[in-house]
Symmetry: C2
Subunit: 727 residues, 2 copies
């Protein structure tokens, strides 16, 4: 957050004693810190004042008028954010970025850097970029919320609570790498994850899930710093939340440290942060009391917290602080100097680490090569050879096909971390010899144990956190980890905000979603995903793929694994499906392809996923009624849209003959590819899969008659031919 | 859960002393309970054994074979559910339904009944309906999960965690009615809400949000009964959760009662339940240790918990229990008698209450009439007169229009409970003189207070719980409450599972979603809802309405309030919009209507919500280029789909001329109504609203040229005319 640094959110400490051989290298550092911090406390005072006035000046930029009702509220919101965020957090920031964080501003992708997540993301203001904040420059470096595209930003937060789960994922990544690669005297991975949160993060469910899970895993390399100013948009936090947060965190397995004066006590904060890094048992929650708008006339005034700073107020602050009220955006030479050494110290960290890794590679050539591959985000070269070239002909549920395709890959390629939200028996993602990711000391009632080198994650019934944590794993470094999540497709509605954030951040996360379609049966309408595919087919930068048999499931996994900057949902069936002779994995790569061609066809049938075989059956029955039907398989819209126009027209032939899609989902969007749909537009029904299909008319003779009738109708009604019809 | 009762999930106690004048009428009842419970403990033994064997027999029905891989797993799942649910919970059920719950099986809609929510919904087996469970009868009374359509089911649960939040809403409904209508000696509302949960519910974020909020509100009329068997699908709970749940609940403001022997100690459970009902300060969490599959060979065996009961195992259980191993589904006369008195006692409760309400109506005629209106789920007759007949002509954000339209209604009609997820300053849902719904003793730092008669709810930053709690409020009795939620539209992705459950249950909940479209601006892509409308337009039984100005906002609210069995999302803008002369509220009721007609038009422009005025502008510019454009306003797909075909063709004219929709969302689904779209298919961009529009080409001259160019292209390319084109 300071001008001197290239990547203000990820500043550093400059500890050059990092390569020592205590595990965390802390004893010596703490002593150094303590003395230097105390010596500097008057300097801190100046730094904090400078910082707060910079923010106040910035707020003033917005204070020039009230151009309309909506804008007025907007200004209030913006100012409240600054107020809350930046001014209150000045001391925390100074402690972190000057003294504690290990990173290199000029090498922002330094692999072993400490990770910092700003979960209360609306405070994403970075000082370098102040002047572009909320500007209408398209290339503004300073968006309203931090975005991963900008150098030095670890994860895009924004929707509250996500950052906490991302931080858990980042800390898990470190643990897994340490357990896999570190050797005595070679702690090639030793970074800590810091996560700053606000009051709201402690209310959001996704954060509460992640906190519970992080405590369970005893992630002692994770620290949450709670900017406890007790203010939210509606007023003081006690309007909505009166729980004992420290007791709650302790109950969840976290150590708690209190900081009473979080606005000024840089020394106390540094001490707490160092203690947190040294924790051997648990993650740490630092509860830092801050005062909103400290130094201004509205300081600590909850009701007024949304109000703008007035010009007079800012001038008063400046006078009170001994600054010139007429000058703006002032940074004294002394303050500049205070931060000046950070980049050089950071580069020293990088060099020390580079040297260590080279020695490590010499000492452990095989392991070193593997570590290098992971740093570079590559899979083992042979991963594609592990995909079976053919499959048993017997009817197979595509959720089982998923296991056949992917489990050998997961077994061999340690980039993959495979998780499930308590549905191991259903999702088939367990490979032979899998080891659970767990704290090594965990003793469970059921006898299952694990350690941090394990790559199978029991997330518990926490779908949302599972996906948000997976984003954190993926964000550790590009493709070093490729996280897999698994659950019923319907439960990806619980996880949707995290799936979205993965897509937005171009993170490769693969979601193995089983029990799609009404064919999943007995669990009924609450579990039958009638409308969910509409969300994921519309979501930018996400592949939603419904494979129709084992061969197509192979195609789906290959497409997902090759999409290095795009998450994928592979949507599979609970129930067994016939294996079709004509399906092709390379067809899946194109999104849609012709399964059965007929040159002078009367109609195109579009089959999708679990219902692909229905299209084949109906085509056959139609032939018996003298109607020529061609069949196309259409597993993925987005992959298809990426094809050349010519290919698309070749597959669809929509302009020449009518086409009917068969899918028991809400049909919205199929209008682009089909002229009619056999679909479901109400919620499902509690029936076994086959009976549910029957109930909704998904039986070959019924569907065949519907298509026949439709073809008759459009011959008689020219307008209808041009409309989309639900059969 | 017992055969004798008509509505097995809502059984009763038969306390005839209910009309006494202590507030909860508990002292005397407790004494009666204690003696009768002790007398019956040997009878309980028989009841529990009978019940467990019935479940074991049921499991056996499924044990006849392994018809394929998927089915095998399915059977394991089904059996695990039974195992967990029914057998472990027998004693809890007996305690609740025989001794504690106040309800009337033959009058399942008895207004003042205790509410029971089965949050661990997979245990929805009801004994009456055993034989239809998982059958393929379309009218099966026994779906895989409880569904509200079935008599005596309070809410449909299923997706885990929802039930906890529903229960919080049900308890809030009671509190609000009590504070509004109860008078000294007339406790016309006095029911308690019981919520049974499993291990998973304590992991789901939505439940954790609701638990925190329920504790804050000090809902002493709410009891969570935790069926603590420490088993989930993947194994023992300690595989994923090792927190101290009692300490966590206490930190959240709940009283905690432990029951060590939840499998047999009916007396202890009854005592705990009565204590919970008598609580004067806090909601109660009863932690009941149960043993999975108690009595069977796999009892308490976590690893084996998914395994089926074998025939031999069931026979052994029967022998051990002194039953005939050859007989199935046996209920002795003694057990029948044990439950026999419940319906009569229930009817007595109903009669006592009816008499009390009649006396109340006589004593307080005005209040009594109001109470009757609420019982009958009616709004005040004049509600529609409160909608302004016209609006100021100045540009207005539709989020502000929402306030203009709805706040006077909210003020006058006490059916409405209006909540916000910490966005009061942004959503404009505060009416003059609103009182907050809060515990009356709450003292906040910001000085805002309230009481239980208040109807404005600060939910905190808990979007998901807000919507799930609102479902509970709505489910209390049909339309007695009409809950309103409010937040940014994008955050309704956090709440989507609860919005869905409202739609599925036909609950009237109105979601005031502001900051839709990329026009919301600075908060950037994380807050710009590119693909979210696709979900809600596809979701069955939900109205997603985007009004274009104040007049259309009036239409949206009227449609939402008139949709008694359907939830609505009213999706409004953050930024100001011009007021259009041609907009009509009755046009909104039809989903789409012609805004500007031109008989020999070259093109139809479809305007939507915040971008409606763009369509008008472009039409005007096109006229300047000698292209005749008609304009239709299209605020709601589902309302339009309900119109007659003739009306739809009249509005669309899609078969005659090309049509272009203007909406900065993913266009999927517009293909049905338009032949081309000016749309956005990537994530948004961090820019102020106007600049974001400009960035994505939503400026009149740019759009006009796009339309002109498109019309030229399709004149030259016949195939293109039949395809959907993104401009």
């Amino acid at each position: 957050m300071y001008m001197e640094t290239k990547t203000p959110q990820v500043n550093g400490t400059g500890h050059t004693d990092y390569g020592n051989n205590t595990v965390n290298g802390l004893k010596q550092e703490e002593m150094i810190e303590e003395s230097s911090v105390q010596r500097l406390s008057s300097e801190h005072d100046l730094v904090l004042k400078t910082f707060r006035l910079l923010i106040a000046d910035l707020c003033q930029q917005f204070g020039g008028g009230h151009p309309g009702y909506a804008e007025y509220w907007r200004l209030r919101e913006v100012k409240a954010d600054f107020d809350r965020g930046a001014i209150g957090m000045a001391a925390i920031g100074t402690a972190l970025w000057k003294y504690v964080m290990r990173y290199a501003p000029h090498t922002p992708d330094y692999f072993n850097r400490d990770r910092f997540v700003l979960s209360n993301g609306y405070k994403a203001m970075t000082f370098d970029q102040l002047k572009s904040y909320h500007s209408d420059r398209v290339d503004a470096l300073c968006p309203g919320h931090p975005e991963i595209e900008h150098e030095g930003i670890e994860v895009t937060t924004g929707p509250l609570g996500q950052g906490v789960a991302n931080a858990v994922g980042l800390a898990m990544a470190t643990k897994n790498l340490q357990a896999t690669y570190n050797r005595p005297d070679f702690d090639v991975v030793s970074n800590h994850t810091w996560c700053m949160i606000g009051d709201a993060c402690l209310q959001e469910g996704v954060a509460l899930e992640a906190i519970s899970f992080g405590g369970h895993l005893k992630l002692n390399n994770l620290t949450i710093i709670y900017d406890n100013n007790q203010i939210t948009c509606d007023g003081s936090v006690d309007l909505t939340n009166t729980e004992d947060v420290n007791a709650k965190m302790r109950a969840c397995g976290w150590d708690v440290i209190d900081i009473e004066d979080g606005c000024f006590d840089v020394e106390g904060i540094v001490d707490a942060l160092n203690k947190a890094r040294a924790s051997t048992e648990k993650p740490t929650f630092i509860n830092v009391r801050t005062i909103i708008g400290i130094g201004s006339a509205v300081a600590g005034d909850a009701v007024a917290h949304g109000a703008a700073f007035g010009a007079a107020d800012v001038a008063n602050m400046k006078k009170m602080y001994g600054f010139n009220a007429e000058e703006h955006f002032v940074i004294s030479e002394q303050v500049r100097k205070f931060f000046e050494d950070i980049p050089a110290k950071g580069e020293q960290l990088v060099q020390t680490w580079d040297k260590k890794v080279r020695e490590y590679e010499a000492r452990y050539p095989e392991l070193g090569a593997d570590f290098r591959r992971r740093i570079e985000g590559r899979l083992p070269e042979n991963w594609k050879d592990l995909v079976p070239s053919s499959f048993p002909e017997k009817p197979t549920a595509t959720r089982a096909s998923s296991g056949l395709v992917f489990n050998p890959i997961a077994q061999q390629c340690n980039n993959f971390m495979v998780g499930t939200a308590d549905l191991s028996p259903s999702v088939n993602m367990i490979w032979k010899g899998k080891v659970d990711f767990q704290h090594p000391d965990l003793k469970t009632t059921c006898g299952i144990t694990g350690n941090y080198s394990g790559r199978y994650i029991h997330y518990g019934v926490r779908e949302h956190a599972m996906c948000a944590i997976s984003n954190g794993l993926a964000a550790f470094a590009p493709n070093t980890f490729v996280p897999i999540t698994s659950s019923f497709f319907m439960f990806y509605l619980y996880a949707a905000p995290a799936v979205r954030m993965g897509a937005l951040q171009h993170l490769q996360v693969i979601h193995a979603a089983t029990h799609d379609s009404i064919g999943m049966g007995e669990d009924g309408p609450t579990h039958q995903p009638i409308e969910l595919a509409n969300l994921y087919r519309a979501m930018p930068n996400l592949l939603y793929i419904r494979p129709g048999d084992s061969e197509e499931t192979a195609g789906a996994w290959i497409a997902a694994i090759e999409a290095k900057h795009t998450p994928t949902i592979i949507s599979t069936s609970r129930h067994v499906l016939p294996q079709l002779a004509q399906t092709r994995r390379d067809g899946v790569a194109k999104g849609a392809y012709v399964l059965e061609e007929v040159d002078d066809a009367d109609v195109t049938l579009i089959g999708v996923g679990a219902e692909l075989s229905f299209a084949v059956e109906v085509a056959k029955e139609l032939r018996g009624r003298d109607i020529k039907a061609r069949v196309i398989s259409f597993p993925c819209w987005r992959l298809f849209e990426a094809q050349p126009l010519e290919y698309k027209r070749h597959v669809l032939r929509k302009h020449r003959i009518p086409s009917v899609v068969i899918e028991p989902y809400a049909p919205n969007g199929w209008e682009r590819y089909a002229s009619a749909a056999i679909c479901v537009k109400r919620f499902g029904h509690s029936l076994p899969g086959k009976a549910a299909y029957r109930y909704f008319g998904f039986e070959a003779p019924v569907m065949t008659s519907k298509v026949e009738e439709y073809l008759g109708k459009i011959r008689a009604d020219d307008i209808l031919r041009q409309e989309f019809v639900e059969l």
